[in-house]
Subunit: 281 residues, 2 copies
């Protein structure tokens, strides 16, 4: 997905939000905004928003020296999600359609996103999404693909959401590879967040090699690319991965909640809709 | 009022909004955002938001050649407000406190603002404001000052709102000087908008000399400064004038609706509150 004009004020908003969490004083915060503002000129709208996101967080790292602004928030999100795990597991156990319920739960986890300008209430939002209609649902195709798949690449998104991903992974067969970001960016899951979420119990965790809040294929490491090209099924979670992968040629399934107007517009759905969308299938 | 960090993403949003109305193509729109982004670095937060606003609109003028992006919108706002005029006049006629009702109506007109990221519904919002409690009200002091004043400087804000100002001016005694912006900026009233609103029937219309969406004293012309210094009463309408004048040493009254969180915070009120605030009185 290319960058839309509406993404530009949102970049400034994100720089301000993360800058406030990391800058030691107003001078440093102003410098973050100065640099983020100047970046616009060097940035082409043909690139994905996730690539600009990577630049914003690079600026913040360089100016503040803080490597992981959302470290504590991510830890808390994982703890909160783990507390919900037994209840969510029960919901799946009692469900008439375990896989579909697990898909819904995985999408519900996608609300744990500190990159969008939206507040969320974990428990309430999850129970809402469990009843919400899909705006796009390729569930039957997803079910078919998941039953056949021997290797599944599951591209994670946010920390905390990763616990919800575990519940879906437990309903899948075959070997699961769970991909995370190379370095901290927004509240996206990195290796240690995936381990803290218990994903090492159900999947092989790898880094995609990417420093952006999304999967930018030409920035991925060769291990990821090999798995991406050869896996029988690829599952992409969340907005950032959609931004990077919406135009790829291989079959894959996007699981996400459209949390901003730009993504919703690109998917031709409404804001807050939930989506299970297969492409090239 | 100084510029707050939260104003910075808002500047980008305003550049995008006005850019969309004026740019001939995406390339030109991108250039507007590039330049607006670069401006942040050269801009001190010690300046007022209105000064940055002036720069944004200068960039738009220079890139697009469009002098008055909101020309048609302003015309429409004035027409809409004029249609409401007889009804509003009736409300004043029937009111137990004509001056207070006229003040409320003048503040209600302040919703006609295309610079904030807020939609409005003229008729509905006006009737709401007519019943709304003031968050700050120095009405008795205002009444006293207006009864004594021989010359009153009334600093206008938006086109359309200017028709509402006329209704308050008609309740005031003494000689009224109505000040407008020097050139078009957002939907602020310029000379021709004030005339179209019928203000020439009740006031002497002058330009403040300012090219910003607010009153920046060191940019005002000498005629305005002379009147500003010598008028018995100064009435400042709206957010932009508040930004420029909140720290001045002379007595004046601010009439506005706090339409954004930053202004509300500076005034220590809640967003959407209405205010009649006197300073140095």
């Amino acid at each position: 997905m290319k960058t839309y004009f509406d993404c530009i004020p949102c970049f400034m908003q994100q720089a301000l939000k993360a800058g406030r969490m990391t800058a030691k004083d107003d001078k440093q915060l102003k410098k973050i905004l100065d640099e983020t503002g100047c970046l616009i000129k060097s940035f082409s709208l043909e690139n994905t928003p996730a690539e600009y996101g990577a630049e914003v967080y690079r600026v913040i790292r360089e100016i503040t020296g803080v490597e992981d602004p959302y470290k504590e928030i991510k830890k808390q999100s994982i703890e909160d999600a783990k507390k919900l795990y037994p209840e969510l597991k029960q919901i799946i156990e009692k469900s008439g359609n375990r896989l579909l319920t697990a898909v819904r739960i995985a999408i519900a986890g996608n609300i744990i996103d500190f990159g969008v300008n939206k507040k969320f209430s974990l428990k309430e939002d999850v129970s809402k999404i469990l009843k919400q209609d899909f705006a796009v649902s390729d569930f039957e195709k997803f079910k078919h693909a998941s039953e056949k798949a021997k290797t599944i690449l599951y591209i994670g998104d946010n920390a905390g959401e990763s616990v919800f991903d575990k519940l879906l992974i437990e309903e899948l067969n075959g070997k699961i590879i769970y991909a995370v970001r190379e370095i901290p960016v927004i509240n996206d899951a990195i290796y240690e967040d995936a381990v803290a979420s218990g994903l090492d119990e159900v999947a092989e965790i790898i880094s995609s090699g990417v420093k952006a809040p999304g999967t930018i294929l030409n920035q991925c490491n060769s291990e990821f690319i090999k798995i991406f090209n050869n896996a029988d099924l690829v599952i992409s979670k969340g907005q950032g991965n959609y931004e990077g992968l919406s135009d790829v040629k291989r079959p894959l399934f996007f699981l996400l909640k459209a949390k901003c107007g730009v993504i919703a517009g690109d998917l031709q759905v409404n804001e807050n809709d939930i989506i299970l969308k297969g492409i090239n299938i």
